[in-house]
Amino acid sequence: MENKNERRKEQILRMSGVNPKKCMRCGKCSGTCPSYDEMEYHPHQFVSMVESGDLEPLMSSPSIYKCLSCFACVDRCPRNVEPAKLIEALRLTVIREKGANHLLADQIPALLDEEMPQQAIVSAMRKYSK
C-alpha cells in the first residue's frame, strides 16, 4: 500500500513536472482561484497534500473536477509551482486507474454549444480524458 502510494506520487510529479517543495505557502493560488468556494480541498492544499503523500482523500474528492483549468494559479504563482498542472495530473491518475475515458473526442461535436468558449472544450479534454 505504502509502495503504491509512493509510486502514484512519483507518477503525479513526473506527469505534471511540478516540484511541490518549491511552494513557500503564500496561498496566492487559493487567493486567485475562481472555484475556491466549490472545492473541499483548495489549490494550496493540493500542493501540500501531494508533497506529504496524502493522495487518497484528494483522489476521491470532487474538488479535482471543480478546477476550471483556467491556469490563473499557474500564471500568478511567485515560485513557479504550477498547482493546476498538479491537479490535472491527479485527475488523469484517477481516470487512468479506472481504465476508461470519461469523454471521447467523438462525443464532443454533439455537446457543442454556440456560446461555449474554445478554452472550455480544451479544458474538458484535459479534465475527462486519459
Partner: protein, 664 residues
C-alpha cells in the same frame, strides 16, 4: 637549484578526513628540489608556523610549498611566516588540497592521489619562482562618494570628520535620496525629514565636503590611492553660485504640467523647479525636456523675474577631472516597476499604489498636504488593503520580480497600517502577508503593536486578484489560517513593491571594475568579514547598493565604509602587488596588441635605443608596463604573440611547469 620544503596540513579532519596526508608528505619528498617534507595538524596555528620557520632555518630552504586550504584563506599568513624566517614571501606556494580536493572528494584514494598531484604542481612552480619586491605608490588624500542619499551623506560626514576632503556626486538636483521622500521612520516614528534635513545642512556647511549635484561619474581610471575620475556636471541652466533659492521663478514659470518625480508623478511641478523645500543645494534647476525657452526660444519668464540674474539658457554640460584616493559607492535603490503585475491592476486603477507613493500621500509636504485621499477621486478611503511581497521572493518571474526578500517591506507596512489606524480610526486596514519578518531591535514589538493596539487585520495569505469595479477595488485573497477565500471591497490597495539597485549601478560597476551579483547588487570582498569593501581595492560600499537595507543598517554601514576609507587615506604610501606584467624588450616586436587589451591602461610604447650584437645602435619600439597601474590580470601575456610579456610570479614557464607536473 632550489631547496624546497613541503608542509602538508591536516586542517583537523577537514583535509585528513579524505586525504591521507602522511602519504602526500612522503610522495612529495622525492620531487625535484624538495629537501624536507612534513605534515602537521594545523599549519596555520602558531606551532605550525614555528615548525615552518625552524625548517627554513635548519635546512636553508629557498622556497616552500604549503599544502593546505585556499590561498585566499592563508596565503598571506604563510608569506608572513616565510618573511619572518628570512625568506622572500613570494617564494611561498600554496597547493589548495582543501576546497579543491578534500571537500569535493568522498573517498580517500582519489583525494590522496589528487592532493599529491596538486602538491607536485606547486613544487614544480616553486622551482622556477624568483624573489619579488613590491613597489610603493602615494595616496591622494581625498575621497569620492557616489550617491547623496542617507548612505552617501553619512559616509561623507564621517570621512570629513576625520579631516579628509570628500566630494559627493549626486545625479538628482538635490541630495537626500529616498529618505527625503519618506514620511515617518520605523520603529520610533520619527519624522524622516526632521532627522535627515539637519544632516543635509551639515554636509552643505562642512568646508571639507563639496557637493556635485545634478552630476554623474562618466569615467574612472587609476587604482587604489590614485583614482582619476571624470565628473559630468549637467547643465541646470541656473548659476549655482548666484541662485538664492528664493523660488520666485518656480512660481512664475508658465509651464505647469510637468509630472513631479519627487511626488512620484502624483502632482505637477513647473519646468523650473526646486524638488522640495529643504533641498540641498537650494538652487533651481530647469528641466530641458519641458522648458519652452530651451525648446523653442520663446518665453524667458524665469530670467525676467530672477532678481539676481542667475538664469543662463546658454549653459552647457561641463566635465571636470579630479583625483581621489578612495571611492565609496552609495547608489541606493528603487522600487521595481509594477506595470507587469496585471493581477494587481496597478496600471488600470489610480487607487492601486505602491508603498512609496503612500509615503508621499501621507507626507505633509506631499500632493495632498498629508491628508490620506484616494488619488482617483480625492475621497477618504475607508477600506485599505496592503499586499506584501509584490515582486519579492518571486522565483518564477525573473522578468517581473526578484528572487530575494526586500527586507524593509514588513516593517514599513506595519508602520503605514499603524499610522493610518491612528489618524483615521474609521478605516479598516488589512495586511496580507506570506511571513512577517521583523528581526531588529524593537521591530517585532512594533509589528505586534500594530495588531494589538491599533487593530490592523493581519491575514496570512496572499492577494490573488484585484479588479477595479465602479469606484471600488474588488480584492480576492486567501486566508490560509481560517481556510477561506476572502472578497474585500477596498478603496485603496497598497503594493509593497520589491526594491532593486539603481540602474546607474551596473555601468558604474563596469567603470570601477567592481563586481556585482546577478541582481546587480555590488558584491562585498567577504560576505561576513569584509562587508563594506568591494573586492576591487580602494572601492567601498555603503547602503542599499550592496543589498536591501533599512535606515539604521544603512547608517551603520555608511560609518563602517567611512572608517575603511579613513584607514586608507591615513597611509602615506601603499605597498603594491609585485605580481605584475613585465615585458622582455629584446623579444617585444612592437605590435601594440598588449596595449589594446590592457583594461587598466598600464602599457605604453616607447622608442628605445638598443645596442645590437654587431655594435650598431638600433631604435626599436617596445612595450613598457607601469607597475603601479598594472593589476596583474595577465590579459597581455595571453595576447602577446612574441611571448615577450610575462606576469611576475606567474610566468608562462611556471604555468607550463605546473601543467607538466599535473599531466605527468
Amino acid at each position: 637549484m632550489q631547496r624546497i620544503g613541503v608542509f602538508v596540513c591536516h586542517c583537523g579532519t577537514n583535509i585528513a578526513g579524505t586525504v591521507d596526508v602522511k602519504a602526500v608528505a612522503e610522495a612529495l619528498q622525492y620531487e625535484p628540489g624538495v629537501v624536507i617534507s612534513k605534515e602537521y595538524q594545523y599549519m596555520c596555528s602558531q606551532a605550525g608556523q614555528d615548525l615552518i620557520k625552524e625548517a627554513i632555518k635548519e635546512n636553508n630552504l629557498t622556497g616552500i610549498v604549503v599544502c593546505s586550504c585556499s590561498p585566499r584563506m592563508h596565503e598571506a599568513t604563510f608569506r608572513k611566516t616565510a618573511a619572518a624566517a628570512g625568506l622572500n614571501p613570494y617564494m611561498v606556494e600554496i597547493a589548495n588540497i582543501r576546497e579543491q580536493c578534500s571537500w569535493v572528494h568522498k573517498d580517500i584514494p582519489t583525494g590522496t592521489e589528487k592532493a599529491i598531484i596538486l602538491g607536485k604542481a606547486a613544487v614544480a612552480k616553486v622551482n622556477l619562482n624568483a624573489p619579488l619586491t613590491p613597489g610603493e605608490s602615494p595616496v591622494t588624500k581625498r575621497a569620492l562618494v557616489i550617491g547623496g542619499g542617507i548612505a552617501g551623506i553619512q559616509t561623507a560626514l564621517d570621512i570629513a570628520d576625520a579631516g579628509f576632503p570628500v566630494d559627493i556626486v549626486e545625479t538628482k538636483p538635490t541630495i537626500g535620496g529616498k529618505m527625503a521622500q519618506l514620511d515617518k521612520t520605523f520603529p520610533t516614528l520619527d519624522c524622516a525629514a526632521c532627522i535627515l534635513t539637519p544632516k543635509m545642512v551639515d554636509v552643505a556647511q562642512n568646508d571639507k565636503v563639496r557637493i556635485f549635484s545634478y552630476s554623474e561619474v562618466t569615467d574612472v581610471s587609476g587604482f587604489v590611492g590614485n583614482f582619476e575620475v571624470t565628473i559630468k556636471r549637467r547643465a541646470r541652466y541656473v548659476k549655482e553660485d548666484i541662485c538664492t533659492g528664493c523660488g520666485l521663478c518656480t512660481e512664475k514659470c508658465p509651464q505647469k504640467k510637468v509630472p513631479n518625480e519627487f511626488n512620484l508623478g502624483m502632482d505637477n511641478r513647473r519646468a523650473i523647479y526646486i524638488p522640495f523645500a529643504q533641498a540641498v543645494p537650494k538652487v533651481a534647476t530647469i528641466d530641458p525636456d519641458y522648458c519652452t525657452m530651451l525648446k523653442s526660444g520663446k518665453c524667458g519668464v524665469c530670467s525676467k523675474v530672477c532678481t539676481v540674474g542667475a538664469i543662463d539658457y546658454q549653459a552647457k554640460d561641463e566635465y571636470l577631472t579630479e583625483k581621489y584616493g578612495a571611492i565609496v559607492v552609495a547608489t541606493g535603490f528603487n522600487p521595481i516597476s509594477m506595470e507587469k503585475f496585471d493581477e494587481f491592476a496597478y496600471s488600470q486603477s489610480k487607487d492601486v499604489i505602491t508603498s512609496l507613493e503612500l509615503e508621499r500621500l501621507m507626507n505633509a509636504a506631499g500632493p495632498t498636504g498629508g491628508t490620506l485621499l484616494r488619488p482617483s477621486d480625492g475621497e477618504h478611503p475607508h477600506t485599505i488593503v496592503f499586499v506584501q511581497c509584490v515582486g519579492s521572493r518571486c522565483a518564477s518571474c525573473a522578468e517581473k520580480g526578484k528572487e530575494y526578500c526586500s527586507k524593509i517591506c514588513c516593517m514599513y507596512t506595519a508602520k503605514h497600517a499603524m499610522l493610518i489606524r491612528d489618524k483615521y480610526p474609521d478605516t479598516d486596514v488589512y495586511v496580507f502577508y506570506i511571513d512577517v519578518r521583523t528581526p531588529g531591535k524593537n521591530f517585532d514589538e512594533f509589528y505586534r503593536r500594530a495588531v494589538e493596539e491599533y487593530g490592523v487585520h493581519y491575514i496570512k495569505g496572499m492577494v490573488g486578484k484585484v479588479s477595479p469595479e465602479g469606484n471600488k477595488l474588488k480584492v480576492r485573497a486567501s486566508d490560509l489560517i481560517d481556510g477561506k477565500q476572502l472578497h474585500i471591497d477596498a478603496d485603496l490597495v497598497v503594493l509593497a513593491a520589491a526594491i532593486e539597485p539603481d540602474k546607474s549601478a551596473r555601468p558604474l560597476a563596469t567603470m570601477l571594475t567592481a563586481s556585482m551579483d546577478t541582481n546587480d547588487f555590488f558584491t562585498e570582498a567577504h560576505p561576513k568579514l569584509r562587508p563594506v569593501e568591494s573586492p576591487t581595492a580602494g572601492v567601498f560600499l555603503s547602503g542599499a547598493c550592496q543589498g536591501p537595507k533599512d535606515i539604521p543598517e544603512t547608517v551603520s554601514q555608511a560609518g563602517a565604509a567611512a572608517s575603511k576609507v579613513i584607514g586608507l587615506l591615513c597611509k602615506d604610501k601603499l605597498t603594491g602587488n609585485p605580481c605584475v606584467a613585465h615585458s622582455d624588450e629584446w623579444m617585444c616586436n612592437g605590435c601594440s596588441t598588449c596595449e589594446k587589451v590592457c583594461p587598466y591602461g598600464a602599457i605604453t610604447y616607447q622608442d628605445k635605443e638598443f645596442r645590437m650584437p654587431d655594435r650598431t645602435v638600433k631604435v626599436r619600439r617596445v612595450a613598457s608596463v607601469n607597475e603601479a597601474v598594472c593589476q596583474g590580470c595577465g590579459a597581455c601575456t595571453v595576447a602577446c604573440m612574441s611571448g615577450a610579456m610575462n606576469l611576475k610570479g606567474f610566468t608562462n614557464q611556471q604555468i607550463m611547469a605546473e601543467v607538466d607536473a599535473i599531466c605527468k
